[in-house]
C-alpha cells in the first residue's frame, strides 16, 4: 500500500463521522484516529484573558465508552463520554447501580453522567465483573476519564 493511498484514506475518514479506523494490509498495519478537544470542568482561567476555551486534547477515546487501557492488566476501562457529574445511583439514597465485584451483563446500567440536566446512563458493553469504581459519587468527570474497571468474563 503506497503513501498516496494512505493519504487518500485519511481524507476519506475526515469526510465521515468515523472516529477511528484500523487497517491491516499485507505486512502493513496502521490506525487513523481523530483527536477531539476535551472540554474542561471548573478549570479557572486567569482573570482578564479571553474566555476559557477547551484545551487541545490528549488522545482520548472519541465516541466509545469502553477502551482497552494501555496498562498491562486485562481489564476494560469504562470512560466518560462527556464532561459532567458522575452518579452511582438513580437518585440520592437509592441503591447504587453496581458495586465492586458485581457481575454485569451487556446493556446493564453502571452509572449516570449528568451534564446540563441531561441524564446519560452508561451501560456495560460486555459480560464481566466490576473490578474497581474509580470515581466518587457526585464528582465532576472529564471527557474520556476512566470511571469503572471491568474484567471480561
Amino acid at each position: 500500500m503506497g503513501i498516496e493511498e494512505i493519504l487518500k484514506l485519511i481524507e476519506t475518514v475526515q469526510e465521515t463521522d468515523i472516529q477511528e479506523l484500523e487497517v491491516s494490509h499485507g505486512d502493513w498495519k496502521f490506525r487513523i484516529a481523530r483527536m477531539l478537544p476535551v472540554p474542561v470542568q471548573a478549570i479557572p482561567a486567569s482573570v482578564g484573558t479571553a474566555p476559557p476555551i477547551a484545551p487541545q486534547a490528549p488522545a482520548v477515546p472519541a465516541a466509545g465508552e469502553v477502551t482497552e487501557p494501555a496498562a498491562t492488566h486485562p481489564y476494560i476501562e469504562v470512560v466518560s463520554p462527556m464532561v459532567g457529574t458522575f452518579y452511582r445511583s438513580p437518585e440520592p439514597g437509592s441503591d447504587v447501580f453496581v458495586n465492586e465485584n458485581d457481575k454485569v451483563v451487556p446493556g446493564q446500567t453502571l452509572c449516570i453522567i449528568e451534564a446540563m440536566k441531561l441524564m446519560n446512563p452508561i451501560q456495560s458493553e460486555i459480560k464481566g465483573r466490576v473490578v474497581e469504581i474509580l470515581v466518587e459519587n457526585a464528582q465532576p468527570v472529564e471527557y474520556g476519564q476512566p470511571l469503572i474497571l471491568l474484567e471480561p468474563v
Partner: protein, 272 residues
Amino acid sequence: MSDNPSLIFDLAEFRQQLKTARLGHPTEYFPRVKSTSDRVLEMARRGAPEGTLVVAEEQTAGRGRQGAVWHSPPGCGIWASVLLRPRNVPIDQMPPLSMCAAYAVTKAIEEVAEVSSKIKWPNDVLVNNRKVAGFMIETKTVPGVTDEGPCVILGMGINVNQKADEFPPELQNTAGSLLSITGKSVSRPLLLQRILEHFEPIYETFVNSGFESILGEIKSRLAWRGHLVELSDGDYSVQGHVLDIENDGSLVLDTIEEGWVVMYTGSLRFLR
C-alpha cells in the same frame, strides 16, 4: 385545584389545533401517571415514533434531577414528555438540548401569556425571576430500536394556572405560575401547542446545524447575565458573575477565588 371543569386539559382541541410535522404525533393523554417520562420510555420500547407525546393531568412521581420531585398537581400545569431520536448527534453534544427546549418555552410563553421570560442556565424558565418551567432529559438505549442513536426523553413541567398559595412552602419564594405572576389564566392546550410548534424547528436546527446555530438567541434570553449567583453541585459551590454561554452550552462564571470558570453541571441561585 381541579374542581373547575374548564381546567381539564382539552385533548380534542389540542389535537385539532397542533400544526407540527412530528412532535405530538401521536399524543397520549392520561389523567394520572407516576411519570410521563416513564410512560414515554415504555412506548419507545414498543417502537413508538419520534415525536410521541405523553401528557398527564397529574403526575404522582414527576422526577427532577437526581431524585428531586417535581410538584405536579392536577388541573393547573403542563406535565408532558416527548420522545426524540436525534440522529448523528454525538452524545457529548447532546446536553444543551435542554436549553433549546427552554428557549422554545420562553417564546411560547411570551406569545400566549404576553409576558417576557428568561432562560436560567441550564434549562429553567423564569418569569419575574420565578421558576415557571423546568426540564429533565434522559437518554436511553433500547435494544433493536436505537441502533441509529439513543432515545432522548424530554420531560417538561410548566406551572400554568396554580395560585400563589398552592405551591408547597419550600417553593413559595422561588416558584411561580403564569397565573400567579400575571394574574391571568392561560389555556394549557394552546400553550403546549405553541411550545411544540416553536420547539420543532429549533430541534431540527440543533440536530442538523448544531447548538451554535441557536446560541445567539439563547444568550439574548439568558437570565441573570452580569449578576452575582451561586452555583452549587453536590458538595461543590462557587460564587461568581454570570458572563456567557460557550458553544458547547457550558456556563462561564467570573468568580472571585478561581477567576473564570466553565461549568457543565450545577444549579444557580440568584444573589444580587
